[in-house]
Every structure is written in structure tokens, then in C-alpha cells.
Amino acid sequence: MKEDTVSELVRIQHEDFSIDSEVKRVMASSRGIGGVTIFLGAARDFSKGESITGLDFEHYPGMAEKKLLDIRERALKNFDIIEMSIVHRVGKIDIGENIVLIVAASAHRNDAFMACEWAITELKRTTPIWKRETTQKGDVWVSQTP
């Protein structure tokens, strides 16, 4: 696959994304795709007993992108999937807005489910991205997400 296609499939960006567009991009890779599992992370208004009014994400430019590319490559190697895309937003994000999208496409659904769940867990574990929550007590860096 061409370099620039991969860089469209794996991105860190400020702007919101469209799930339909991302799925279309992934579907374009093969007519053999029968199951697509998608995980969307969204900004919720409540965390660990605190009411949240907004989020702000920071990343390590360069390293974060590298880690996401690495997750895609390992997913393609370790699961029976056809394609995967990963998009993570940074900057200020309001409650209810999109944060992260993972699209895993395969011939059969089991593989797509497994790869998608693995990828979001791996993203949280290995990708240098940090969330700051705006609460009534002020802005708080979140040191771990489940």
C-alpha cells in the first residue's frame, strides 16, 4: 500500500471526522469486506465522580503518529483483517463530540471485532496522547484511562 494512503488511514488531527467517510476509505481497499467493526470514543460529561465540561488533548507529535501506524501494522499482521484505520483528534473537544475512531474491516465479523477491541486497548496503552478535563475544580490532567 502506498505511503500516502496509509497516512490517510492513520491520522492525528484537530478537525472532527466523518465516520461514513472513514468507512468509505477503508471499504475502498477491497470488495471482499463483509464485516466492519468501528469503535468511536466520545467526550462524556462525567468521569470518576466529577462533572466534566470539556476536554483538551495533547500529543507527542511524531511519536504518537508512529505508535498509531505501528498498531495498524500489528493488527494487519496478527488478526485476519483486510484493513484498519485510526483517527485521533487533539486540541479542545466539547462534551458529546468525537475523540477517536478505529475502523477494522474483515471478511467475517469475528476478526473485525477482535482487532478493533485490541487496537483501542493498545492505543490507550502505547500512544503518547494526554487528556485534560475541565471540571469545576479547574483543569485536570488525567493520568490514566481504563
Partner: protein, 82 residues
């Protein structure tokens, strides 16, 4: 020159995005941490924490990883993306 970068909570505590260090010969990540603790006392507690990860040239590193002239070292609080 070694480029040290702070992120998230570390950046807030240090009130700095990082610092450049002139080193005359390669040093370990552990030795670099000692230099940083002197320059940024506010980071003293966190920088030795087990949950703090360190990267050298954007790859995960350990206390004993060697840092050379031209390297970029990131100090990374626990991630909270996703």
C-alpha cells in the same frame, strides 16, 4: 545537544516544554533525570515515578538507555488518549 521534552502534567508542573542539555559524552537516562531534577525541582517527585515512561528518539527507553548528542528525550506521564 540533547533535547528534553516534557508533556502534559510534567509540562504544567515544570512550567516549561523542556530544555536543551549540552553533554560532553553519552549519559544514561538515569543520569539525565538527575540533571533535570536539579533544574526543575517541581518534577522531582514525578520523574522517578514508575508510571512515568521515557522515550529516546521517540522509542520507549529505560533508565539505562544511553543518550547521545543529538538525541531527543521525552518524559511521558501515563497516557490518557482514546
Amino acid at each position: 545537544m540533547v533535547t528534553v521534552k516534557f508533556f502534559a502534567m510534567l509540562k504544567t508542573l515544570a512550567k516549561s516544554e523542556g530544555k536543551q542539555y549540552e553533554i560532553s559524552s553519552p549519559i544514561t537516562v538515569g543520569e539525565l533525570k538527575e540533571l533535570i531534577k536539579k533544574d526543575f525541582p517541581a518534577l522531582a517527585g514525578l520523574i522517578d515515578s514508575r508510571s512515568l515512561l521515557v522515550s529516546v528518539n521517540q522509542e520507549f527507553a529505560t533508565r539505562t538507555t544511553v543518550v547521545k548528542d543529538g538525541d531527543e528525550v521525552g518524559f511521558l506521564p501515563p497516557f490518557s488518549g482514546g
